[in-house]
């Protein structure tokens, strides 16, 4: 039923190209703390948007608002042209009107977390087939074949029956990426995917993400890896204290930053 509704929306808008992610004027307050102060961002099909900025700039909060893990205080979010219906709840934030709509939209957005968040009681292959089988109702055999192909792609086919606790951080994160791909998402959201990794393990994860970018996947990426953002992103957004300070193509952002803050930020990173 949920899938049928999703298909209907897609075919109705077949004529105009769908905008995978369109966020308008997003605000988020945690009590007195104004974390996001009116952020708008559009990701078109195939865009790789990198969100950069210092800690506390609101980039992770913004990413988490896109799939409603965090409830924004005001603003609007549309995925594939479908706006998430929101209304004020008792806490003053916007809560979804229809949980089912949010669940359906979440199956088009796949998130990769800083600390992997693989389900520890399931093997890698079970982690990858879990959502296809139990949420998307894909037949078990088909899900398993797809999962094996995905684990092969991220170089973990041999480890498919291992439990996450027995793998390195880099391997866990690559498995988490396979889990994200298994739902065949329209957009991939990366929340600092390499920040929790030992330096020598960062490369293997970035290689997988780069591979996906070259596939033409739509991705929004919160990252501290400036060199990587410069090479992979099609669009870079610099956030400072909850606002977009500067944005543009990576050459412009890293080559000739306008604002003093961005200049200082880039210097501090190098």
């Amino acid at each position: 039923m949920a899938t049928a509704a999703g298909l209907a929306t897609r075919s109705a808008a077949d004529t105009a190209p769908l905008v995978p992610v369109e966020v308008k004027n997003l605000h988020k307050r945690f009590g007195d703390l104004h974390v996001l102060k009116g952020i708008s961002l559009t990701a078109n099909k195939g865009d790789v948007v990198a969100l950069i900025g210092g800690s506390g700039s609101g980039k992770s909060t913004f990413l988490r608002c896109i799939n409603m893990l965090e409830h924004p205080t005001s603003g609007s979010i549309a995925i594939d042209g479908e706006e998430i219906r929101l209304r004020k709840d008792s806490s003053g934030d916007l809560a979804p009107v229809d949980r089912r709509q949010v669940r359906r939209i979440r199956t088009r957005l796949a998130m990769v977390f800083q600390s992997f968040n693989l389900w520890q009681h399931l093997t890698l292959i079970q982690n990858v087939t879990e959502v296809p089988v139990h949420v998307l109702k894909v037949p078990r055999e088909e899900a398993r074949e797809r999962a094996e192909a995905l684990l092969h792609r991220v170089g973990l086919y041999e480890k498919r029956d291992a439990y996450p606790a027995f793998l390195s951080g880099g391997q866990q994160q690559r498995a988490a990426i396979a889990r994200a791909l298994a739902i065949q998402p329209d957009v991939l959201l990366f929340d600092e995917p390499t920040s929790a990794l030992d330096p020598e393990l960062v490369g293997e994860v970035l290689a997988v993400i780069r591979d996906l970018a070259e596939d033409g996947r739509t991705m929004i990426l919160v990252t501290h890896e400036m060199k990587f953002a410069r090479e992979v992103a099609s669009h870079v957004v610099f956030l400072h204290s909850g606002q977009i300070e500067e944005q543009g193509p990576p050459e412009a952002i890293f080559g000739s930053p306008n604002s003093e803050r961005l200049q200082r930020f880039i210097q501090s990173i190098h």
Partner: protein, 276 residues
């Protein structure tokens, strides 16, 4: 989060069942086994066991009753404990508060008192309520066992509810969040992720709690349920033999505990992630 034990502590590597015979037969084990056999032979030769054949059937019936009580009340109790624990972790206050109160009352009063309050309290109240006297339940409610089962079930639920609260709260937030981020509904999340993760963490505690439950079952002998202890109490009354029945009784509880621990270990081995 103090509940979040490192994986090594939460899921220790259990000794594998496949120890070879030469590993098993160590000198200290042989000596202990010989002492054990000696004690049994001495007990069999010097003590009085002539009463045993006469009461064999009763003992078996009592054993069956004890096992039945243990299994039924543990399973029912656990089924209640899951919502009781969950309500305290995520429930709105109207569910969380009664659940916490339930656990406090059950854990804060002696089980013997609970059994008597149910049996002598409810049990003596019901006959005066015509609706209950005439209902199909009356043939059951005039017996003792429903009150014993109820008391033991509530007791297990109270203790386990508190344990499950900790287990649910101890599942890493990130794993729950990942499930939500992938569009899982509440029920699927509970069934597929939260409950199995919590159960896995709680298993080692559950063994101990279930052994305690086994050793709580003799208390229902006080309300005329003929479980294992009640049978041996009767042997003593009939024959005036004190020590032999008690020794045999102790041995039977010991064996039951050993079987219980073994079964839980099998379950734990199945559910604990192992490197492959």
């Amino acid at each position: 989060m103090s509940d979040a034990l490192p994986e090594e502590i939460a899921a220790p590597h259990l000794p594998s069942a496949s120890t070879t015979r030469s590993e098993f037969l160590k000198p200290h084990r042989i000596v202990l086994a010989l002492i054990g056999v000696g004690l049994i032979v001495a007990a069999a030769m010097t003590l009085r066991w002539d009463w045993l054949p006469k009461y064999g059937d009763l003992i078996l019936a009592g054993l069956w009753m004890t096992v039945l009580l243990l299994v039924v009340t543990s399973i029912l109790g656990f089924l209640i404990a899951v919502p009781v624990g969950l309500a305290q972790v995520t429930g709105p206050r109207i569910f969380a508060w009664p659940a916490a109160t339930f656990c406090t009352i059950i854990r804060g009063t002696p089980l013997l008192l609970q059994i008597w309050l149910l049996y002598y309290g409810l049990g003596s109240l019901f006959p005066f309520i015509p609706e209950i006297r005439q209902s199909f339940l009356w043939p059951y409610l005039r017996q003792a066992w429903p009150y014993g089962v109820l008391a033991l079930t509530l007791s297990y639920a109270g203790y386990e509810g508190e344990v499950m609260r900790g287990a649910f709260a101890g599942v890493p937030k990130g794993e729950i969040e990942a499930a939500r981020a992938f569009g899982m509904g509440r029920f699927t999340l509970l069934r597929r992720i939260w409950l199995p993760r919590a159960f896995q963490r709680v298993l080692p505690t559950l063994v101990g709690e279930t052994v305690l439950q086994l050793k709580s079952t003799p208390l229902v002998a006080t309300i005329t349920i003929s479980e294992l202890y009640a049978v041996f109490a009767r042997v003593r009354q009939d024959t005036y033999i004190v020590y032999e029945p008690l020794l045999l009784l102790a041995l039977m509880y010991l064996v039951l505990t050993a079987i219980l621990v073994y079964l839980f270990r099998l379950l734990e081995n199945r559910l604990t992630p192992k490197s492959r």
